[in-house]
């Protein structure tokens, strides 16, 4: 990093931390956060302009910073509603900043530093939520630190060791400090090292059989932390894998590795999906959907390992952004459900749309993304995924069919989970759980609404970033999810007052 980026970055972090200690009122704090995240966006753009990060990091960094800003604002109101300790806001801000830093870090070492700090903060936040809430397991933070963080460290240390042993003599650790945009040395490694190198990232993405820590950890954390862990942090696993396979020579093992990812992804889609459909705890439902969605991204990643095409890389990016957008929206909404009903067991809850009208609009858009309506990120991710598996139909038909089946399974399961989640909005008369408040404060709802809108807006932005003509076409169909949202919202209003 050169001076100017470092200055912008430090200013942003300082401002974000300080903004939580302004006593003048909530709007000043929101303003402080806005400036802080804008500075972070400036940092990302400057890094890109100076050729320190590539477009992969740029697109993820920008879209995740947008989402982070909204999660951060949401935390301000969430903390008060839930009576969390004051330092929750600072913790969340730092957590968000570290995760974004891991995405935009120019070199391996910086990525590892930011990521590890994020892991520690994640542990602290899960512990906080575990002790604060009366629902959910008590061993979740332990599971997180032992399963997720530990295996991540194994992979990271393998990487560091590798760089010392296997790079050409005299370079050593320096290779890990070079920016990704420069030509990195590609090292040939023995096959036995590969499992060690990827296991941490697979645990982070919670693919079967290393998924067990995720549902309890993501459901125990405070809602903004859940949104961050589930929406932004798990995708770091794919980001790390993407970086690792660019410095390791895997040409000899492409087929087995890609088959591994496709099969593991398929299993995760089926397991996560069916578990999600059986949950009564809304946060558990979302956590299991994280496993299923990560299975979907794993299949795409398998296809990328098989044939590292540009379009597959962008499918990976869009898959990650889709996951971040809808998961952040729905996890923030689950926090509102806890505020209104005092529980997150939603099977008896009906008619939530009457109490939180504004945020309902946002979560409908997230649900539509999960359903795959044209004009949302979900649609474009599923479309590109199917396109990628059709691409290899001539060269490797078996993998093409397997991945197509996996995508079909994901399309069905995500739609079913979306419909299951939508139950809480219908039919207010038949609610078996009494609402604790009549109307929800709009400050709590507004960030969820904007997060929901991101499911549509980011679609246009990300794709316009890829190809401009395609962006125009997408801009033309943007009204479709909005119309659907209006119809669904009107229906919820009608049925919840009946």
């Amino acid at each position: 990093m050169t001076g100017i980026q470092l200055i912008a970055y430090s200013a942003s972090v300082t401002l974000l931390v300080l903004s939580n200690y302004v006593d003048k009122g909530v709007y000043y704090r929101v303003l402080g956060k806005l400036v802080g995240y804008v500075l972070l966006i400036c940092t990302v753009i400057l890094l890109y302009q100076f050729g320190l990060v590539d477009s992969f990091s740029l697109s993820l960094g920008l879209s995740f910073t947008l989402i982070s800003f909204l999660i951060s604002v949401y935390t301000l109101f969430y903390r008060e509603a839930h009576h969390y300790p004051k330092h929750l806001e600072t913790l969340i801000d730092l957590f968000l900043v570290f995760i974004i830093s891991a995405y935009i870090a120019p070199s391996f070492i910086l990525m590892i530093v930011a990521w590890t700090s994020g892991e520690i903060l994640g542990y602290v936040l899960i512990k906080l939520g575990e002790e604060h809430s009366s629902e959910g397991p008590l061993t979740s933070s332990r599971g997180f630190i032992f399963a997720s963080t530990l295996t991540y460290e194994i992979s990271v240390f393998t990487l560091i060791t590798l760089s010392i042993i296997f790079t050409t003599a005299g370079i050593g650790l320096y290779e890990l400090m070079k920016p990704f945009t420069q030509q990195l040395a590609v090292v040939a490694i023995p096959v036995i090292i590969i499992p060690l190198l990827v296991v941490g990232f697979i645990t982070k993405t919670a693919n079967i059989p290393l998924h067990f820590w995720l549902p309890s950890a993501h459901s125990s954390a405070p809602s903004p932390a859940s949104a961050t862990l589930s929406g932004l942090m798990v995708s770091l696993g794919y980001y790390g894998l993407y970086r690792v396979i660019s410095v390791v020579d895997i040409d000899a093992y492409r087929a087995p590795i890609s088959w591994f990812f496709v099969l593991v992804g398929f299993l995760s889609i089926m397991y996560g999906g069916f578990q999600a459909l059986a949950q009564r705890d809304v946060k558990k439902l979302l956590a299991y959907m994280t496993i299923a969605t990560n299975g979907f991204i794993s299949v795409v990643f398998g296809l990328y390992v098989m044939r590292p095409l540009d379009i597959t890389k962008w499918t990976l990016v869009i898959g990650m952004v889709m996951h971040a957008a809808y998961k952040a929206t729905l996890f923030c909404e689950s926090g509102l459900i806890e505020v209104v009903y005092g529980t997150r067991y939603v099977h008896g809850i009906r008619g939530f749309a009457r109490i939180a009208s504004l945020s309902t609009m946002g979560s409908i858009l997230a649900i539509l993304s999960l359903l795959g309506v044209p004009g949302t990120l979900g649609f474009i991710a599923k479309l590109l995924a199917v396109y990628n598996s059709i691409l290899i139909v001539g060269t490797d038909s078996a993998m093409s069919v397997t991945s197509l089946l996996a995508f079909l399974a994901y399309i069905i399961i995500s739609a079913l989970a979306a419909l299951k989640y939508a139950r809480i909005y219908y039919d207010g008369a038949s609610s078996r759980v009494k609402a604790l408040v009549e109307k929800l404060d709009w400050g709590l709802q507004a960030p969820v609404l904007v997060l929901g809108l991101l499911n549509v807006l980011l679609c246009v932005l990300v794709v316009a970033f890829l190809t401009q003509e395609y962006g125009y076409i997408l801009a033309l169909i943007t009204p479709l999810p909005i119309i659907t949202m209006y119809l669904a919202h009107a229906q919820f209003r009608i049925t919840s007052t009946r």
């Binding site: 539509l368 359903l371 795959g372 739609a415 219908y426 395609y470 119809l487």
Partner: protein, 523 residues
């Protein structure tokens, strides 16, 4: 095939795009406007709906601003005609149930407008967008419209068993096109003209594509969703689904065979699917005692007939079968839409779909019975109905094929079975109206005027449809002979039928107040 050879609109591409934009916007705007003013200005809303669903497409098509292929043209017109009927009928229905009808109108009219736009799509991008849009609105909004959360499981069935396989088929089609002509070019691919060089599709992809579209018609082995979805969705949504949305499958069949050279393996695959579904659906319909389930199983059966026709048409390369397929499309769209909205009316009057609890509806509402009779005529195939024309053509053609190819024999047997069984379930359906006499004087329940009008309008469309079709068939070789024989017969029987119905209508009297002795014997 490169972008320069693509059959896009050439230099006038901007003009064509603007025309299409005008067309799209005007249909959407008028449909929305009609829905918004429906509670305050019902008459204006009716006019707007007629203009939006039928007027604008007709104007654009007649003036040649938009050029479509024959099957697109037919589907657009039939959808327009049916859409007006369903929309008007739902206005009356929801006014009775909820008092206000604006929200329901917005949803229903948007789906209908999108269907018209889907069938008149000139670019491949339009097909994709409207296809997904319709499926999602139906699943997420329309199916749960009347019954709320308890119908979410129905929506889930629809998504898992119908939407997902057909989405995969459409995406496969699109991805293959992208691989051949490029991303941007594939979206601008013209659908309203035959493609110069269709793309070869290997057996695997051909089967995935056709299988997915067959699922839209409720074909075996995913034949179990229509009874659930058509049976439990609100009646008007069932009418839209069975009458029009299932025709998206037929539309996609035609589009697929226009854009691709499909491997024959896939045709034999869906032929088997179609034969099994036809027989299964017909028997299933005969065994039901719920009106909507009868209609749902009958839809599976007619979906099977359409699939069989498509497969044999593509295997044999017959233009006659193509024409026949379009006849069946028109017949099924009109009949099922009318039957389902009539079932909705039965529910509005009696609060049940169960045939064992119904029986003398004729005495409760004579107006509802007229359209039920029209449906009966078409199911059983009484001349002059389009059901009769369809059945005659189906059996005659399959026998003709059987002389040349063994395939025809199986097809002929299947069609004959379906034709016979449809008489039975047609009779069961009308049983709701006339199977018993009322034991006590029935309470006459008034129906909103708009519903009667909508049903009579669709009945009239059904009764008049054969004229158009006979004229259309006369264009084929030796078809004019058929036309010359059928037209007078049609006119004669139509007059007889209307005369007979009005006589019966005026003769049947509602029984007087029945007096019972204490023993229970009539006095």
């Amino acid at each position: 095939m490169h972008s320069s050879e693509l059959p896009v609109h050439g230099e006038s591409v901007i003009d064509a795009f603007l025309t299409k934009l005008l067309y799209t916007l005007s249909i959407f705007t008028i449909a929305t406007l009609a829905s918004i003013v429906v509670d305050t200005h019902p008459r204006l809303s009716t006019i707007l709906r007629v203009v939006g669903f039928l007027g604008i497409p007709v104007v654009f098509l007649v003036t040649g601003l938009i050029e479509l292929q024959d099957y697109q043209l037919l589907l657009v017109l039939v959808t327009g005609i049916v859409a007006i009927g369903i929309s008007l009928h739902s206005e009356g229905y929801y006014k009775v149930i909820y008092g206000l009808t604006r929200y329901f109108q917005v949803a229903i009219n948007l789906i209908l407008a999108s269907l018209i736009l889907l069938f008149s799509s000139t670019l491949f991008a339009e097909l994709i967008v409207y296809w997904f849009f319709i499926d999602i609105i139906v699943a997420f909004v329309a199916i749960t419209m009347e019954y709320g959360v308890e119908n979410l499981s129905v929506a889930a069935t629809y998504v898992a068993m119908c939407v997902a396989p057909s989405d995969i088929a459409l995406l496969t089609m699109w991805a293959t096109l992208v691989g051949k002509v490029g991303l941007y070019e594939s979206l601008l691919l013209a659908l309203n003209k035959p493609v110069a060089e269709p793309v070869n599709l290997d057996p695997l992809l051909s089967t995935i594509v056709l299988f997915g579209f067959a699922v839209k018609l409720g074909q075996f082995p995913l034949h179990s969703w229509p009874p659930v979805v058509y049976g439990r969705a609100p009646s008007h949504i069932s009418a839209i689904l069975s009458g029009l949305v299932s025709k998206m499958g037929v539309y996609a069949y035609f589009t697929a065979s226009q854009l691709f050279v499909i491997n024959p393996v896939a045709f034999y695959f869906i032929l088997v699917q179609g034969i099994i579904s036809t027989i299964y659906g017909s028997f299933g319909a005969v065994l039901q005692s719920n009106i909507k389930l009868i209609l749902a199983y009958s839809s599976v059966s007619y979906g099977g007939i359409l699939t069989v026709l498509y497969a044999t048409m593509m295997i044999l390369g017959s233009a006659l079968l193509r024409a026949l397929m379009l006849v069946v499309v028109v017949f099924h769209a009109l009949t099922k839409a009318l039957a389902f909205i009539n079932a909705g009316l039965i529910y509005q009057l009696t609060n049940t779909y169960d045939l064992s609890k119904l029986g003398h509806l004729f005495y409760v509402s004579k107006e509802a019975c007229f359209s039920a009779f029209t449906v009966l005529l078409n199911f059983t195939g009484v001349p002059p109905s389009i059901g009769f024309v369809t059945k005659v053509l189906l059996i005659a053609t399959s026998v003709l094929i059987a002389r040349e190819n063994m395939l025809g024999l199986i097809v002929a047997v299947t069609f004959t079975l379906a034709a016979v069984l449809s008489i039975i379930y047609g009779a069961k359906y009308i049983g709701a109206y006339i199977s018993t006499l009322p034991k006590a004087p029935p309470r006459i329940i008034p129906i909103p005027d708009i519903e009667v009008k909508a049903e009579n309008y669709l009945s009239a469309a059904l009764l008049l449809a054969p004229v158009v079709l006979i004229a259309y068939i006369s264009g084929f070789s030796h078809g004019y002979l058929l036309g010359a024989v059928m037209m007078p017969a049609y006119i004669a029987t139509l007059i007889t039928y209307i005369y007979a119905f009005t006589r019966v209508y005026s003769k049947i009297r509602i029984p007087e107040d029945v007096k019972y002795w204490l023993s229970g014997v009539e006095s």
